[in-house]
C-alpha cells in the first residue's frame, strides 16, 4: 500500500466514524420519541386490530378467532354505514366552513402591523382554554327551547313557537366549528406569515386587484399550508366525541360516539375495534388523497 492510499483510507475511515457518530447522536435524539410512539400508539393499534378479528359472544366478552365478520357487519348494516356517511358529511361541511371563516381572519392577523397583534392572537387562542364539554354546555344554553337564540327570535317577532336547534346536525356543526376554528386560524396565519409580502405588492403593482392577487399569488403559494389546516380540521371532526354527544343528542350518531357505545355500553370489543379501524382507515385514505391532490396541483 502506498503512502497516499493509506492516507486516503484513513481519511475515509475518519469520515465514516464521523458519519457513524452523527448517526448515533441522531438515534439518541429520536429514540425516546420513537419508543414512546411505538409503545403508546403502534402497539395498541396492533392489539386493537387483533381484537377486531375476534368474535363477540354475549356474556363472554371476546372469543379468540380470525374472522372479518365485524367488518362485514359494519359495511352491510345501513345503521353503521349511515353513521359513517353522516360523519363524513359533517367533517366536510365543518372543514369547508372553517376554511371560509379562517382565511380572512388568518390573513388579517398575519399582515397586521398593529401593536396589539399578540393580543389578537391570544383572543383566537382563548377558546382553547375551555374544554370541549364545557363549550358544548355553553351552546346548550344558546340552542335550548328557552335558550338565547329562541328568546331572541321570539322577542324580535320572527317566530312564535320555539325552533328546535338542540339535538340537530346544525347544532353539532356549529359546536365543532367553534372548537376547530382557532386551530385552523393559527395554522393558516403561520403559513401566510411565511409568504413574502413583496410578492403580493408585486402583483398589485402589476395591476392585479385584491381578489386576483389572492387567487393567482397568495392561494397557490399558501395551498400546501391551507391543505394542512383543512386536513387537521377534517381529522378533528371525524374523531369528534363530546360535541356530537352533547349537542347531537341520542339520535344523531357519529363514528366517535359509536365506537364508545360498542366498547362501553355493549361490551362488544371486537366490533368496537373494527369500527375504530374503519374510522381510522377512512380518515387516513381521505387525508392521503387530499394531500396527493394538493401536491399534484402545487407542482403543476
Amino acid at each position: 500500500m502506498t503512502a497516499s492510499a493509506a492516507a486516503d483510507s484513513l481519511v475515509s475511515l475518519a469520515a465514516r466514524e464521523k458519519r457513524g457518530g452523527r448517526l448515533s447522536t441522531a438515534a439518541m435524539l429520536i429514540g425516546p420519541a420513537t419508543i414512546f410512539v411505538v409503545i403508546g400508539l403502534l402497539a395498541p393499534i396492533v392489539i386493537l386490530f387483533r381484537y377486531s378479528l375476534n368474535q363477540f359472544v354475549p356474556g363472554k366478552l371476546m372469543v379468540e378467532a380470525l374472522t372479518i365478520e365485524n367488518y362485514v357487519l359494519f359495511f352491510t348494516d345501513p345503521y353503521y354505514t349511515a353513521a359513517l356517511y353522516r360523519t363524513l358529511r359533517v367533517a366536510v361541511i365543518v372543514t369547508a366552513l372553517c376554511l371560509v371563516l379562517a382565511i380572512p381572519l388568518a390573513y388579517r392577523l398575519a399582515r397586521t402591523q398593529s401593536r396589539f397583534k399578540n393580543l389578537l392572537i391570544m383572543l383566537v387562542v382563548l377558546p382553547l382554554f375551555v374544554g370541549n364539554a364545557v363549550r358544548a354546555a355553553g351552546w346548550m344554553t344558546v340552542f335550548g327551547n328557552k335558550g338565547f337564540l329562541n328568546v331572541t327570535l321570539q322577542s324580535l317577532g320572527l317566530t312564535t313557537e320555539p325552533v328546535v336547534f338542540m339535538y340537530t346536525e346544525f347544532a353539532v356543526i356549529v359546536g365543532i366549528l367553534a372548537v376547530n376554528l382557532p386551530y385552523v386560524v393559527l395554522t393558516l396565519q403561520s403559513v401566510i406569515e411565511g409568504i413574502d409580502r413583496a410578492v403580493e405588492e408585486a402583483a398589485f403593482s402589476l395591476g392585479a386587484g385584491p381578489f386576483r392577487m389572492a387567487r393567482r399569488v397568495l392561494l397557490p403559494l399558501a395551498l400546501p399550508g391551507f391543505a394542512a389546516g383543512a386536513i387537521f380540521c377534517f381529522i378533528l371532526t371525524m374523531n369528534a366525541y363530546a360535541t356530537p354527544v352533547l349537542l347531537g343528542g341520542p339520535q344523531f350518531v357519529m363514528m366517535g360516539p359509536l365506537v364508545y357505545v360498542q366498547f362501553a355500553a355493549k361490551s362488544n370489543w371486537p366490533f368496537g375495534a373494527a369500527i375504530s379501524f374503519v374510522l381510522m382507515t377512512v380518515t387516513l385514505i381521505l387525508t392521503a388523497a387530499a394531500n396527493l391532490l394538493v401536491q399534484r396541483r402545487y407542482r403543476s
Partner: protein
C-alpha cells in the same frame, strides 16, 4: 455556604436510595399516599351527589374513625364496567368496591369478574329486607332502592295517568320524554305495558315500535330530561321516584303515580371485583353501607329507600319517597337472567330500530 457533612449525599447514595424506594413501592411495602395501603379502600362509583353522600354518610363518619381511608374513583357506570372487564386478567385490579345497579350486577356476574361475597363478614347483612331477588345474589350487597313511577306535569297532562300506558296515549303525543341511558328499564316498562313480564323482549319490541310512531323526544341523560321538564318541553315520562322527589325539592311542577302495570324496582349497591387489592377494606365498606344511620342519611338527602329493616325514616318522608302497602304489592324485579344474556341485543334494538330517527 458549605453543606453540613451529615447532610452531604453522594450521587451513588442518592441513586441507591431512590432504587430502594422504588423497589419498596413496587412491592407494596410502602404507602404511596396518605394511609398505609392496607387501610385504603378504593371506591369506584358514580360521581355527583351520590359520591358526595357516600363520603358524607359512610367514609367520614363510619370508616374514618376506624382508621380506613376511602378514595373515590368516580365515573359513569359504562366506563367502570369496561374498566373492570379490562382488568379481569390482572392479578390485582385498581378498585376494591364497584357500585352497580342490579342489572349491571347480572351482566358482570355473567362475565365472571365479581367476588362471591362471604356474608358472615357483614354483621348488618341479616337486616337486609328480602323484597328484591337481587338481594339474594351472592355477588351483590344492596344499598338503596326506589321504583320506576310515572312522572307528569299537571299543567301539561290534564288526565291524571294511571299507568305507564299513558306514554302510549295519542292525547299525550309530543309531551313524552325518553332518557337514552334508561334503555334497559324503559324496555322492561314497555314489556309490562304489552302485558308481559320484564324480560318479555319480543313484546317490549312491538310495544316500543308503537311508541315510536308517537315521536317521543329523546334525551341523553336524566339531567337533560329534568331540564326539558323544567322548560315544559315535555311533561310525561317514567322515572325513579327518588329522582322525582329531588326534582320536586328543586321546585319542578311534577307529580308521580305508581303505575298499575307494575313498579320496576331499582336497586343499587356494591360489589367486590375478584382482583380487589384490599378485600378486608371492601367488606368493611359493604358493612358500613348497611348501617341504619347511613341508610337514613340517604333517605333524607337523596330520596332513596333503605334496604335494611332497622333503619328509621320519618313518616312524612316515608310518605314522599316510599310506597304504600298497596303500591309495594306492585313492585316487580328486573329480569336479571335476561339482562345477563341479551343486554347487547337490547341495546342494538334500541339504537337501530327504536331510537333511530
Amino acid at each position: 455556604m458549605s453543606t453540613p457533612t451529615s447532610l452531604r449525599l453522594s450521587r451513588r447514595a442518592a441513586l441507591e436510595g431512590m432504587a430502594a424506594l422504588a423497589g419498596a413501592s413496587a412491592l407494596g411495602t410502602l404507602p404511596v399516599w396518605g394511609q398505609p395501603a392496607d387501610k385504603k379502600i378504593v371506591l369506584s362509583t358514580w360521581g355527583g351527589d351520590y359520591a358526595k353522600l357516600l363520603t358524607k354518610h359512610i367514609s367520614k363518619p363510619v370508616l374514618a374513625p376506624k382508621g380506613w381511608e376511602v378514595v373515590n374513583d368516580e365515573a359513569q357506570v359504562v366506563q367502570r364496567k369496561a374498566k373492570t372487564i379490562a382488568e379481569k386478567r390482572l392479578p390485582k385490579g385498581t378498585s376494591d368496591i364497584q357500585a352497580f345497579t342490579a342489572t349491571d350486577v347480572a351482566e358482570m356476574t355473567a362475565l365472571d369478574v365479581l367476588e362471591q361475597l362471604d356474608l358472615t363478614k357483614l354483621k348488618n347483612a341479616k337486616n337486609v329486607i328480602k323484597t328484591f331477588s337481587i338481594a339474594d345474589s351472592p355477588y351483590f350487597s344492596p344499598h338503596i332502592y326506589s321504583g320506576k313511577v310515572v312522572l307528569y306535569n299537571p299543567k301539561l297532562i290534564k288526565d291524571v295517568p294511571t299507568g305507564i300506558d299513558a306514554l302510549w296515549d295519542p292525547k299525550n303525543q309530543g309531551k313524552v320524554g325518553i332518557v337514552d341511558i334508561q334503555h334497559v328499564y324503559t324496555t322492561m316498562a314497555a314489556a309490562l305495558v304489552a302485558g308481559g313480564k320484564t324480560g318479555d323482549f319480543e313484546k317490549a319490541k312491538k310495544s316500543l315500535l308503537e311508541l315510536k310512531k308517537l315521536k317521543p323526544r329523546f334525551y341523553p341523560s336524566n339531567e337533560a330530561l329534568a331540564q326539558a321538564l323544567q322548560t315544559e318541553e315535555v311533561g310525561l315520562c317514567i322515572m325513579w321516584k327518588a329522582r322525582a322527589v329531588q326534582w320536586q325539592n328543586a321546585g319542578a311542577n311534577i307529580l308521580t303515580v305508581a303505575p298499575k302495570e307494575g313498579l320496576i324496582a331499582y336497586v343499587s349497591g356494591f360489589t367486590i371485583p375478584k382482583n380487589a387489592p384490599n378485600r378486608d377494606g371492601a367488606y368493611a365498606f359493604l358493612d358500613a353501607a348497611l348501617e341504619p344511620s347511613v341508610q337514613e342519611g340517604f333517605a333524607v338527602d337523596m330520596g332513596y329507600n333503605p334496604v335494611v329493616g332497622n333503619a328509621k325514616v320519618a313518616p312524612e318522608l316515608k310518605a314522599r319517597i316510599g310506597f304504600t302497602p298497596d303500591e309495594e304489592k306492585l313492585l316487580v324485579n328486573p329480569d336479571l337472567e335476561f339482562m345477563a344474556k341479551r343486554s347487547a341485543e337490547l341495546k342494538d334494538f334500541w339504537d337501530k330500530e327504536f331510537k333511530r330517527a
